[in-house]
Structure formats: structure tokens, C-alpha cells
């Protein structure tokens, strides 16, 4: 390259030197740096908190559903779709779901357990104490299907569901209301005008899907039929043998009921899977939209970074001119200023992440009933966005610095 003297190849700066130089340049002006870090902290912090909020809400709902068992199908009387045409002259009411329908379904090849349910509210009384409670008529298999747990005694006895034995299982809270702290197993209570013997007490799993399992009385389905003087079922819970069997089970339920109901598709089958998927989608969309709102603050932070860097470039014109005079190339200047903005936004992002973590911890202490936890991928997203915005918003100032004419930049002040 040169005739005399040493042959030189332009070497680049060592990474550590770039970082040291940028760090010292960035920290030379405390006020501006603090402002910039604050903006980035708020931006990244709010994004992480909002993502975590949305994700925790999603997980909460999914957990609630999963406690029902995921291979569950719920059969409801009536169709959920609107069928076309004007209403028929003689009002078409859907046929009732009967206990016989449930028995027919239980013979399906892919069906594991099955639990017919009749639900109603009735006054429960023990020696003058009376309380209105939810009464569920079902069979022994409800225990497994709903993942119930007993604190004392036993559940409904297995056997012919059409036998109306006068026994009941009572929720823990209901037991306390009616029997106090005394023993309840073997005692009699009155539901409406009938007497039932208490054979079991549920342990307290709390609220499941809006039903308070603490204040509930479970009796044999046939007893509930005569208690409410109705033969129609509220719903039938069907558990498929495994998750692969859910779809065949749904088809066979529709087929069986159509045959039994003179060719009418007058039931609705909800699969747990479909409900879960829908909720998942809803909450993901929600999370995305609140994250988008929070991301606006990240953009504001990015613009702040750009502003601070532009000011830094014009304040340090002489320094940039000097760096060029002693041999810094355009690329090196660009790299130094990009490193500076990236460094600042990364530090801001890290602080934002810590602030988010702390506020999530704090929320956990303040609202223990809502299980808020950091979404596992939110730190990665926040840091990535911070880096990208630090670089993207740093490009313009860095470019301006690199393009500075050294002769002009060094001209007398």
C-alpha cells in the first residue's frame, strides 16, 4: 500500500475498548443519562408487567378448567345454533335429556365414566336451622369426573342410578352451617320435604367454575328427580377414555342421541378442549393488545434516546472531529455512538426488568388470591425490544456523527 514505511492495515477497536469508551461517554452527563434510563425503565417495566398480567389471567382460567379434567365432554339439552326459518306453528321444544339417554351413552365404546346431573336449589334444614343450598343429583362417578375429595365418610354408593337411596354428601361450609363443629356423618337432614342421611363430607376445593363446592348437597340422581319432580337432566358429563377419544366420543354421543330422539340433533356437546382453546385465544389476544399499548411507552423511550443522542452528537462535535483527525473511520464513529445508545437502552431495560419483577412480587403480596407471575418469555421480549429500539433510534444520531466533516467540527469555537 505504501512505498516507504510500514505497511498498515486498518485494525478495528477491541470490543472492550468500545464498551469502555461508550460507557464513559454515556456517563459523562448524569442528568441526561438518568432521564434516558428512566424512560427505558418505564417502557420495559410496563411491557413486562402487562405481558405477565395477561399471561397470568390466561393461566388462571386454564387452571380452573383443567381442574375439571381435560378429557371431559359436556352434553346439554337444546341446540346452541340458530336454525333458519320462522318459528314453527306448534312451538318446537327440544326433547329432554333423560336418565335413559345417559345410560345409553355410557354404553359407548370410547366412553370412560359418565355422570348425569340434575341441579336445583332447595331449602336444607336440620332441627330448625334452614339454609338454601345448591342440590346436585348425580351418580358415584361424579366423584372421579369432577376430581372431588372427601374429608370424611364416603361418596354416593355405586350401582343402579335409578335407585333413589336417601343419602347425601354435603359440602364443608354447608356442614359447618348446619351441624356446627359436631359430627355430621350418619345424621339426618331434610331437603324440601324429604329426609336424607349424611354419608360424606367434601373437603374444601373452594370454587370450581363458579360453583361453590362448599355449599352444596349431592344426592343420588333418582332422588333428585323425585325431589324436583322432573325427569329431565340438567347436563350429562362424559369422560372419554383418553384425549384421542374425545372426537370419536363426541360423534358417537350425537349419533346415539339422534337415534333416541327420532333423528333430531337437539343436544349440544361441549368439549373441554374446544373451551380451553377458545379461552387461550381470547387471553392471548388480550395480552397482545395490552402489550401493544405498553409498547407505546417503549417507543417514547426510544425517541428519548434518539433525542439525547442527537444532543450528545452536537455537544461533542469537536470530540468527533478529533477522533476522525487521529484516524477514526466513519464506521468506527458509527459503531461508537451505536454502542453508546445500545448500552444505555440495555441498562435501562435491565433496570426496567428488575422494577417489573419487584412490582409483580409486590402485587403477589397485595393480592394473594390472584396468582400473578412473570411470563417466562417476557424478559426476553422486553430486552430484545429495548436493544432493537436502542439501535434503531441510535442509528440517526450515530449516522449524523459519522458524517460530520472533521474540518468543520474542529473549527474554532
Amino acid at each position: 500500500m505504501f512505498k516507504h514505511g510500514i505497511v498498515v492495515f486498518p485494525k478495528s477497536m477491541r470490543l472492550r475498548d468500545i464498551l469502555t469508551f461508550s460507557l464513559r461517554a454515556a456517563t459523562a452527563n448524569r442528568g441526561r443519562v438518568l432521564l434516558m434510563l428512566l424512560a427505558m425503565t418505564i417502557g420495559v417495566g410496563s411491557v413486562v408487567v402487562f405481558i405477565s398480567l395477561g399471561d397470568s389471567a390466561r393461566r388462571y382460567v386454564i387452571d380452573q378448567f383443567s381442574s375439571l379434567g381435560t378429557d371431559l365432554l359436556i352434553v346439554l339439552p337444546g341446540r346452541s345454533e340458530t336454525t333458519g326459518g320462522p318459528p314453527p306453528l306448534l312451538g318446537e321444544t327440544p326433547r329432554d335429556l333423560t336418565l335413559d339417554d345417559a345410560m345409553a351413552l355410557s354404553r359407548g365404546r370410547t366412553v370412560g365414566r359418565i355422570a348425569p346431573i340434575i341441579a336445583g336449589s332447595a331449602p336444607i334444614s336440620v332441627q330448625g336451622l334452614e339454609r338454601e343450598m345448591l342440590v346436585l343429583g348425580s351418580t358415584a362417578e361424579l366423584y372421579e369426573i369432577r376430581h372431588l375429595a372427601l374429608s370424611q365418610g364416603s361418596f354416593l354408593p355405586p350401582g343402579d342410578p335409578s335407585r333413589a337411596e336417601a343419602v347425601c354428601v354435603i359440602g364443608l361450609k354447608g356442614k359447618k352451617e348446619l351441624f356446627g363443629n359436631g359430627p355430621a356423618i350418619g345424621k339426618w337432614l331434610r331437603i324440601g320435604d324429604r329426609r336424607f342421611r349424611v354419608i360424606g363430607i367434601l373437603s374444601s376445593p373452594g370454587v370450581s367454575l363458579g360453583e361453590d363446592l362448599g355449599e352444596i348437597v349431592i344426592i343420588p340422581v333418582a332422588a333428585a328427580q323425585s325431589l324436583f319432580n322432573a325427569s329431565s337432566l340438567f347436563r350429562i358429563l362424559v369422560e372419554a377414555k383418553n384425549s384421542a377419544a374425545i372426537e370419536p366420543t363426541r360423534k358417537s354421543i350425537l349419533e346415539t342421541i339422534r337415534l333416541r330422539h327420532e333423528g333430531e340433533d337437539d343436544i349440544t356437546v361441549i368439549t373441554q378442549d374446544a373451551v380451553l382453546t377458545t379461552f387461550n385465544r381470547i387471553f392471548k389476544a388480550l395480552t397482545l393488545s395490552v402489550t401493544g399499548i405498553a409498547a407505546i411507552s417503549l417507543v417514547v423511550a426510544g425517541i428519548m434516546i434518539m433525542n439525547v443522542m442527537l444532543v450528545a452528537v452536537s455537544n461533542r462535535r469537536a470530540e468527533i472531529g478529533l477522533l476522525k483527525a487521529i484516524g477514526a473511520s466513519r464506521g468506527q464513529i458509527l459503531g461508537l455512538f451505536l454502542a453508546e445508545s445500545t448500552l444505555l437502552s440495555t441498562v435501562g431495560a435491565a433496570i426496567g426488568l428488575i422494577v417489573a419483577l419487584l412490582s409483580i412480587q409486590l402485587a403477589g403480596v397485595l393480592f394473594p388470591q390472584f396468582p400473578l407471575q412473570l411470563a417466562p418469555w417476557s424478559p426476553a421480549i422486553a430486552i430484545a425490544v429495548a436493544l432493537i429500539s436502542g439501535i434503531a433510534f441510535g442509528v440517526l444520531p450515530a449516522h449524523r456523527a459519522a458524517e460530520l466533516e472533521p474540518a468543520l467540527a474542529l473549527a474554532r469555537r
Partner: protein, 228 residues
């Protein structure tokens, strides 16, 4: 070693064209000591910027150490500035947040020299300019003469073949100014070509050759080869 031929430089000031340099031809041998003199606005700083590759001429050619540097691209010119040219400015242009040591080390940092090698070279340079006990001081803790010595140490840390000084004593008191001039002359004795812009006749007289500029042109040479 330096050959300028038919250098033209025109600036646009508003709508008006300003001829900063008109058909400048200049040659300098290795080891020369030249003072570029002339009234302000005569183009002497523009000439120094061209010589230092801080500015590109609109036309003409510039040969340095046998290389036609006016045709090199930006990155190659930066490499020439780094390895062949040392700058000394009137306002020192030290980076205010860096210590004397770090200011001198800047060219080494930019060219990727390892830290331990930097340590030895910078310490040696500071010692040579009598600044060893000022290594950790920032520029605002140094006197004018000390600042200029730091700047000279920085300009020479890469062992350049030419030193370009723009009014190096213009911002110093008389005794500091003489001290700085003596340092530069000592470097010139060691073989570095020294080209200095000044409007101070005292300083001009010290050089071995003066180049007088008027209105963007070189007006003949005065006091040529005084020392020989």
C-alpha cells in the same frame, strides 16, 4: 515526501462561492520545518486541512510518502491519518472526560493495540514530555502548556512521519509557547516533518522555510533554507 499539485478548494457560503485555495502547488521534503503564514482568511487552515486529509480538494492531486492519497477512499484515508499524520491544534482538542493518559492512548485504542502495550507506550510518551505525574489528571486540571504537551504526545504516539500544527502556540502564554515550539522542533530534529500554520512572525522566524499565503494562493517563498 509531500507533493501538492493544482489544488483547488471552493466553499459555498450561502449563495456565494468562496475560493479558499486556488491552484496551490507545494512540495516538502522529509524532515522539513515549514511555517505557513498569512493573514486570516488567506486559506492557510484550508491548506492544512487538505494536508491532513480532513478535507478533500475539489481538484488537484496530493501525494504523501509516494502514495496518491487524494484518490484513496474514506477508510484508507482514516488509516493514513492514524499512522502517518499527527495533529496539534490551537485549542488542544483533548477529550474533557478522559485523563491525560487516556487522551494520549486514544489513537492506540482506536487501532486496537493491546492494553499492556498501550500502558508501556503511553507511559514512555508521558515521561518524555515531562507529564508522568500528570497522567491521571483530566484536561481541566492541567495548565495550557501541559494540555498542549498532552496533545503533542497524542499526536506522536503512532510515530507519524508528519506533524501538522495549527497555531500550536496561539492559545498559550509566551513562555509556554516557546516551550511547546521547542518540543515540536525537537521532534523535527528527530526526523518528523513539521508543518505549522501561524500568523505570529516570531514563530515563523523559527522555521527553516516560510510559505506565505494570500487570498488562497501561495505568494512565493520567503527566507528559504535559512539554516543551510
Amino acid at each position: 515526501m509531500i507533493q501538492l499539485q493544482h489544488i483547488e478548494r471552493v466553499f459555498m457560503v450561502g449563495e456565494e462561492e468562496v475560493h479558499a485555495l486556488r491552484d496551490v502547488n507545494m512540495a516538502a521534503e522529509a524532515g522539513e520545518y515549514i511555517a505557513i503564514m498569512g493573514p486570516s482568511g488567506s486559506g492557510k487552515s484550508s491548506l492544512l486541512n487538505i494536508l491532513g486529509l480532513l478535507d478533500r480538494p475539489d481538484s488537484g492531486s496530493y501525494e504523501l510518502d509516494g502514495t496518491l492519497v487524494s484518490n484513496l477512499d474514506e477508510k484508507q484515508q482514516a488509516a493514513i491519518r492514524m499512522h502517518k499524520i499527527g495533529f496539534v491544534f490551537q485549542f488542544f482538542h483533548l477529550v474533557p472526560r478522559l485523563s491525560a493518559f487516556d487522551n494520549v492512548a486514544l489513537p492506540l485504542v482506536l487501532s486496537g493495540v493491546k492494553p499492556d502495550e498501550r500502558q508501556t507506550r503511553v507511559s514512555a510518551a508521558l515521561a518524555a514530555f515531562g507529564l508522568s505525574n500528570r497522567a491521571r489528571h483530566r484536561p481541566d486540571q492541567l495548565s495550557g502548556g501541559q494540555r498542549q504537551r498532552v496533545a503533542i504526545a497524542r499526536a506522536t504516539i503512532m510515530q507519524p512521519s508528519v506533524i501538522l500544527a495549527d497555531e500550536p502556540t496561539g492559545n498559550l502564554d509566551r513562555s509556554s509557547g516557546i516551550e511547546v515550539a521547542e518540543i515540536l522542533e525537537e521532534l523535527n530534529h528527530q526526523g518528523m516533518t513539521l508543518i505549522m500554520v501561524t500568523h505570529d512572525p516570531e514563530m515563523g522566524k523559527r522555521s527553516r522555510r516560510q510559505v506565505l499565503m494570500v487570498d488562497g494562493r501561495i505568494e512565493g517563498r520567503t527566507r528559504e533554507d535559512r539554516g543551510q
